[in-house]
């Protein structure tokens, strides 16, 4: 079985989810990387360092910026020429746009948001979380060619294994239908979806009477502590809806129903009561630590370890303790 793995490139780097997809792909058959980026040749070496022996590359300057139309047309033409059996893509918001268009161009079924894939004879099935993770559904792809999209942190990154790989250039087909005029960075560092450790903050960070400062100043203090803790693990700061609605963090930090579904190894919920909207976003976390003043807060029913108390009393000591580990 010929399996292609699409490398989503974010600021010149391969998204970890694409590397994780390589380990799934290796289980399914012969794997090639699919890279559309001006630095595709260089990026192919990353695939070769994980034992992948072939990369289909489109290194034209146009691929500097993502355009769903241009990327889909180019991949469509290459897929028709080289006929892979499966193309695996990350199920990020950006790659979903590409997956949607490819499913039309190639007329194939999508096993979307797969958390596991099973192959028996030529029957490919996937398990996917639906209803925000409350239900797991097993679905089958019936088309000859198949698209699979995978969530971040569901498969391990394969172990390093340097090989000499072959590069096959593919033709640029089609053009962008929209123009990007500018971009501004709204946050730094690891994105929520790829972070191994997430420190999430809720309304609790806005309130500490002993400080005698405004709610906003208190919140800023809490955010700075949260970001110190996250920074120790190269993690990311997440938030409940109340915090992003109040404007303390941009929307892409929101964990939950209308925000991000995350599955870090370690999740801290600080001053988060645990509304159902938030819980559906974080229930995939491996280990959950909750700190909340209210012992009845629902978050404790979804936590492995809990501290009943004020986060402002406990956080500095926790940061200090983990700092020892770093030294």
């Amino acid at each position: 079985m010929k399996v292609w793995v699409y490398f989503e490139i974010e600021r010149g780097e391969v998204l970890p989810t694409s590397l994780e997809a390589l380990s799934l792909a290796k289980r399914l058959g012969d794997v090639s990387a699919l890279i559309l980026h001006p630095k595709a040749t260089e990026l192919a070496n990353i695939a070769f360092s994980y034992g992948i022996t072939k990369a289909y590359t489109a290194p034209q300057a146009d691929f500097d910026q993502f355009s769903p139309e241009l990327f889909a047309s180019t991949i469509n033409a290459a897929a028709k020429k080289y006929a892979p059996d499966v193309i695996i893509l990350p199920s990020t918001f950006q790659s979903r746009e590409l997956t949607g268009m490819l499913s039309i161009d190639l007329d194939c079924d999508v096993l979307n948001d797969a958390i596991s894939i099973t192959l028996e004879d030529d029957n490919m099935t996937a398990s996917r979380p639906i209803y925000e993770g409350k239900v797991i559904e097993k679905i089958r792809a019936n088309s000859t060619m198949k698209l699979v999209s995978v969530r971040g942190r569901m498969f391990p990154i394969p172990r390093a294994e340097e090989v000499d790989g072959e590069i096959v250039s593919i033709e640029k087909v089609g053009s962008a239908r929209s123009i990007i005029h500018g971009s501004r960075q709204t946050s730094q560092g690891v994105s929520l979806a790829n972070a191994g450790v997430v420190v999430a903050v809720g309304r609790g960070i806005t309130n500490h009477p002993a400080f005698g400062i405004s709610e906003e100043e208190t919140a800023r203090k809490g955010l700075s502590l949260a970001s110190d803790l996250a920074g120790m693990f190269n993690g990311a700061v997440g938030a409940s809806r109340a915090i992003v609605d109040a404007g303390y963090l941009p929307y892409d930090h929101q964990v939950g129903q209308t925000g991000k579904i995350i599955s870090p190894d370690l999740y801290f919920g600080l001053g988060i009561s645990g509304s159902i909207q938030h819980l559906v976003g974080m229930r995939g976390s491996k280990i959950v630590v909750a700190i909340n003043k209210d012992p009845e807060a629902p978050i404790f029913q979804h936590a492995d370890y809990g501290i009943v108390g004020d986060l402002y009393d406990h956080l500095p000591a926790i940061i200090e303790k983990f700092n020892e580990l770093k030294k």
């Binding site: 769903p68 979307n112 097993k138 929209s178 501004r184 909207q277 501290i307």
Partner: protein
């Protein structure tokens, strides 16, 4: 300007969802508008206030499943159509997209077609770009702010980055919650929506039969974890030490 907003009726996400005999059931069987689609309607109503637009709503399902369309009308949409389809909620994404694309091709007056970013139930988020591909219209996803002067300019909200993107109209877009909190329907809006007629439209030129997702099984997700272990010392330093030991013992870092 003519705007089309596509909305889907779903189970209330805050209700208890459970699989019983392989079927997904909810403690609240009444369907509501997909929460992501509320942002799409909000975006359309904001544009109507700014540019004097007319808003058409399209929903798929049976004549019993028009709650989402009514909610959109109550928020300020002008008219709504029901693409009458028996098993709308189990259609695969390409079939859903083909129905919507057929509607757009039959009624080509729309300058802007707005979707929510995904549904809260299956959540694949594939339909918006599929519809763009099928209609041949440009696609701009994840719009958090929309401006129209001759052409469309949006702020596209990605992880850690916001892009300014423009495209010629007509265009298909999906919106994210940076658009702003969806408004509550006014009393007048609710009354108007209640009385509104929602004509059925039957897709006639789909070329292919509609297909459903090949669903083999549906099971309740396991309750993820055991009882919470409370770290008892009141002294923050002692508590931190205990927490640290517990986390390190998990061998996840």
């Amino acid at each position: 300007m003519n705007i089309l907003v596509c909305v889907k009726p779903v189970f209330n996400a805050e209700a208890e969802i459970q699989v019983v005999d392989g079927k997904v059931t909810s403690s609240e069987p009444e369907l509501v508008i997909n929460p992501f689609d509320e942002y799409a309607v909000e975006a359309a109503v904001q544009l109507k206030e700014k540019y004097d637009a007319s808003i058409t709503v399209l929903t798929l399902g049976t004549t019993e499943q028009i709650e989402a369309a009514r909610h959109a009308l109550a928020m300020g949409a002008d008219e709504a159509f029901l693409a009458e389809i028996e098993n709308a909620s189990t259609l695969d994404t390409r079939s859903t997209a083909r129905v919507i694309a057929a509607f757009i091709k039959e009624d080509p007056r729309f300058d802007l077609i707005i979707f929510g970013r995904q549904t809260v139930e299956f959540g694949s988020g594939l339909v918006p770009s599929q519809v763009a591909r099928l209609t041949g219209l440009p696609f701009v996803g994840l719009a958090g702010k929309i401006d129209i002067s001759e052409k469309l300019t949006v702020e596209r909200v990605l992880d850690n980055t916001v892009l300014t993107v423009s495209a010629e109209l007509p265009t298909v877009i999906s919106v994210v919650q940076s658009i702003g909190e969806p408004r509550f329907p006014s009393f007048m809006g609710i009354r108007k929506a209640k009385k509104a007629e929602i004509p059925s439209w039957k897709p006639s030129n789909l070329l292919m039969p509609l297909t459903s997702v090949s669903s083999l099984s549906r099971t309740n997700a396991n309750k993820d974890r055991g009882e919470c272990v409370f770290i008892s010392p009141d002294d923050p330093v002692k508590a931190a030490g205990e927490l640290f030991d517990k986390i390190m013992a998990e061998k996840i870092l």
